[in-house]
């Protein structure tokens, strides 16, 4: 899963063993980035 560390702004890949922690700076707050997919929205 692709996240971004909220302190050092680096991209972080999380696996299921490492827990929620930035491997570069140890910060525990990670942000989920918006997917690059094109999103279709109907006007309602």
């Amino acid at each position: 899963m692709a996240y971004k560390c909220s302190r050092c702004k680096r991209d972080v890949e999380l696996d299921e063993y490492g827990g929620v922690r930035c491997p570069y700076c140890g910060h525990r707050v990670l942000l989920k980035e918006r997917s690059r997919d094109v999103k279709e929205v109907a006007v309602e």
Binding site: R34, V38, K39, E40, V41, A42, V43, E44
Partner: protein, 249 residues
Amino acid sequence: MPGEYDVEFVERGDREARFLVRGATPAFANGIRRAMVADVPTMAIDEVRFIENSSVMFDEQLALRLGLVPLTTPPEGEFVEDDVVTLSLDVSGPATAYSRDLVSGDALVTPAEENVPIIELKEGQRLEVEADARIERGQTHAKHQGGVAVGYRHLQRVEVVGDLEEFEDEESRIVRGVIEDEGELLNAEEFDNDLAKRYPGKEVRVEDVPDAFVFHVETDGSFTVEELVTRAADSIEARADELEEAVQL
């Protein structure tokens, strides 16, 4: 008996006009009005594909704003249901994305209003979308309404019946719409809506003229007032045709 109509313009602009129709029944006048509001189809953005949206607003909010931008609607018959025109928009901050930034794939369908702000983008924010516009009736969604302010009033005939008594206080007499004074049509706004200003010291009588309706029509820019009115008449006619044909079978 089919009415012989008499139409006369009081004020005329591309997007806004006032005209008098004589010889119409209230049912017919209302049918035309309702058709202008809800039955004449216009183009509007119906689906939006967000390629990038790093602005502060949700995709759905921006989609609604894009949907409400009035688009010019091509001549009747040029487009049918499910025909799609694609418009794209790509704006990077710091800047404000306006309706004029929508680039259309078809010269017949472009934003009717250039300066509708869509969103203010700050440094590093970007909005890139592709939008599909479709033709639909106002009944399905307000964004497809071509007539935005459509209404009518009776024409009012003003008659001077005598003089006010010498020491009587002048009281204001407010009227709205259009009056007819010895055959001349006059918008009441021209005398501040006050008959006492136009006929000082006179006693006047105001009465509705039967079967004479003053329409006030304003469009959203999709087409001109004339287009809107003729298309409204066409839409009722098409249904009458359909009914006549269906009954004959």
